[in-house]
């Protein structure tokens, strides 16, 4: 079972991200959970959301403590909160940033793999808004190989309707432009 923690700010669509990833996995016949950090959401405040993905029914329903993957949707969160808390050394940190993955690795002192992509720029280009959740979906898929990129298309189409194609394009760009610094 793979556990993922997403960091974002309220209003950036972290909850939608986990839903899209969960639905992509479910499309493929896998089992998945997607849930937010439970509670009232507040625009701008740091929030977390979670996924679990497995090939069989997931019965654990407590919080995620030692994720295999951590995703950071907003560059300003790195340094503000300890994004690597609990992250397994064998795991991967996926960050929206204009810096290189090596720089991030240095900054957060993480020995495992770090992946980086400037999702904010891609989102501005493709969507005209700095909402990076669908963009980062592409980054997560590339970094983890948890689901096929193709499997995320149908959930995005259902969810985003008229603007689905733009979101899919943003997701594909992040998938292709992602840079990875491997584990030590």
């Amino acid at each position: 079972m793979i556990e993922i923690r997403w960091h974002g700010r309220g209003g950036q669509g972290a909850v939608t991200s986990v839903e899209m990833l969960a639905l992509a996995a479910i499309e493929e016949g896998q089992y998945a959970q997607g849930f937010p950090s439970f509670g009232p959401e507040r625009r701008g405040a740091p929030v977390a959301a979670f996924n679990r993905v497995d090939t069989k029914h997931i019965n654990v329903r407590s919080g995620v403590y030692d994720p295999d993957v951590v995703v950071v949707l907003d560059p300003s969160l790195v340094g503000l909160i300890n994004v690597t808390e609990g992250l397994k050394q064998s795991g991967v940190l996926v960050v929206n940033t204009s810096k290189s993955p090596e720089e991030i690795k240095e900054e957060v002192h993480f020995d495992g793999a770090v992946a980086a992509v400037d999702a904010s720029r891609i989102a501005w280009d493709e969507l005209g808004v700095p909402i990076t959740n669908t963009t980062m979906l592409g980054a997560v898929i590339k970094a983890t190989g948890l689901v096929k990129l193709q499997s995320a298309k149908s959930p995005l189409e259902h969810r985003f309707g008229r603007v689905a194609q733009k979101n899919i394009k943003a997701m594909e760009r992040a998938y292709n432009e992602l840079k990875i610094a491997t584990a030590n």
Binding site: A32, S62, G63
Partner: protein
């Protein structure tokens, strides 16, 4: 043909209620339950469900409206949590006394105060004695299945009682996961149109909601008690039919790896699923431990509990509610009472966990099972424990 869909469980509950073709939905939103009435109002507004959605101003009105609607022969539904359940509490025992098959989904949330919007069972446990059938779902699939079952059980002519279906707020309501949804045709075949025993109408001569003097009251209460106890027959029949049609089994008490178990955990609601992971780990270590998952709360499954603990040395009953100053968690005190007269019975301890949405990781279940193994030899250490409190 059932469709496998990923969806937020609260939305799935709403979609399933819509499949059951309710006539009247009267509900008021309350976190974490809000998505259920909200999504149902969307479904009605979109024209996908031909129902009257009554936007009431409070939960008291919500259940009152359902009571009236059901009395007029409509299939009625409502949903709430916590303080909302307390606000309608005045009407709750009346609906069962009037033998009206209203179905209510409760997204379990802690009672205030202090204000807490997160999951525990204090809301439903405050409504133990009201004469409703009460069941607990532990995951999304069970929410879907048991919603359809609830209407069928409630409306059965030998039952005619309201049913509340409980799912953990946030832990279940706000989780997206895969579920198999029955088709509209399958639900229609399983759940026929509601045929009320009586319906208030100008052409029908009936008074409902009458007065009863002391001279008759004991008999009325006895009748109410007997029908609730007897409803177990119908519940088991409905579950048998569900298994035949959909291949999924439901029992009043489910067992997980209890073969040869000397130590048991007993849990209710979604915490039972997390407990399974703990059981697996402990079994790998060679500990003869198993898990009982309580699905049917009212009528209380005496027989199944008594059978399940045969040969068990100690059992830890997990509660997500506390009866302040009382004899432990509600599930614990009822289970212990049910086992009191057994000649041979396990040592039973009360462990209260997860109050107000406090996360209970797998490690805590392991610690509790280890404690149960210890008290099997030494006896209980206290009346009950609120587990994991800082400063203990």
């Amino acid at each position: 043909m059932s469709e496998r869909v990923g969806m937020e469980i609260a939305l799935a509950a709403a979609e399933t209620v819509a499949l059951c073709r309710p006539d009247v939905i009267a509900a008021y939103p309350i976190t974490p339950n809000t998505h259920i009435p909200e999504h149902l109002s969307d479904i009605v507004a979109e024209g996908r469900l031909d129902a009257d959605f009554i936007c009431v101003e409070s939960e008291h009105s919500a259940l009152s409206a359902c009571c009236g609607a059901s009395g007029a022969g409509a299939r009625a539904f409502t949903a709430t949590s916590s303080q909302g359940l307390l606000y309608m509490a005045e009407v709750v025992p009346i609906v069962s006394a009037m033998r009206l098959p209203v179905v209510m989904i409760i997204g379990n949330r802690a009672l205030s105060g202090p204000i807490n919007i997160w999951n525990d069972h204090s809301d439903i446990m405050s409504q133990r004695d009201v004469g409703w059938i009460s069941m607990f779902a532990a995951n999304g699939q069970e929410v879907v299945d048991m919603t359809v079952q609830s209407f069928k059980i409630a409306e059965h002519r030998d039952v005619m009682l309201p049913v509340n279906l409980n799912l953990d707020g946030f832990q279940l309501t706000h989780v997206v996961e895969p579920m198999l949804f029955p088709s509209q045709e399958e639900v229609d075949a399983f759940l026929p149109e509601y045929e009320p025993y009586a319906a208030v109408h100008p052409d029908n001569i009936v008074s409902m909601g009458t007065l009863a003097l002391p001279e008759i009251f004991n008999e009325v209460m006895k009748a109410k008690d007997e029908v609730l106890k007897d409803s177990k027959k119908v519940i088991l029949e409905v579950w048998k039919e569900w298994e035949e049609k959909f291949g999924r089994t439901y029992k009043p008490v489910e067992s997980y790896r209890t073969e040869g178990a000397e130590i048991l955990l007993l849990a209710i609601g979604s915490m039972a699923e997390t407990a399974e992971v703990a059981i697996d780990e402990l079994r790998d270590r060679g500990m003869p431990v198993g898990l009982l998952k309580l699905r049917l709360w009212r009528p209380f499954p005496f027989e199944e509990i008594r059978n399940a603990v045969k040969g068990v040395k100690a059992m830890a009953v997990l509660d997500r509610a506390v009866s302040f100053g009382g004899p432990g968690g509600p599930v614990f005190s009822e289970v212990r009472s049910a086992l009191y007269d057994e000649k041979v019975r396990p040592t039973i301890i009360s462990e209260i966990i997860g109050l107000g949405g406090r996360d209970v990781p797998v490690g805590d279940f392991i610690k509790i099972a280890e404690k149960a193994a210890r008290v099997a030899k030494t006896g209980p250490e206290e009346e009950y424990e609120i587990f994991g409190v800082r400063g203990s």
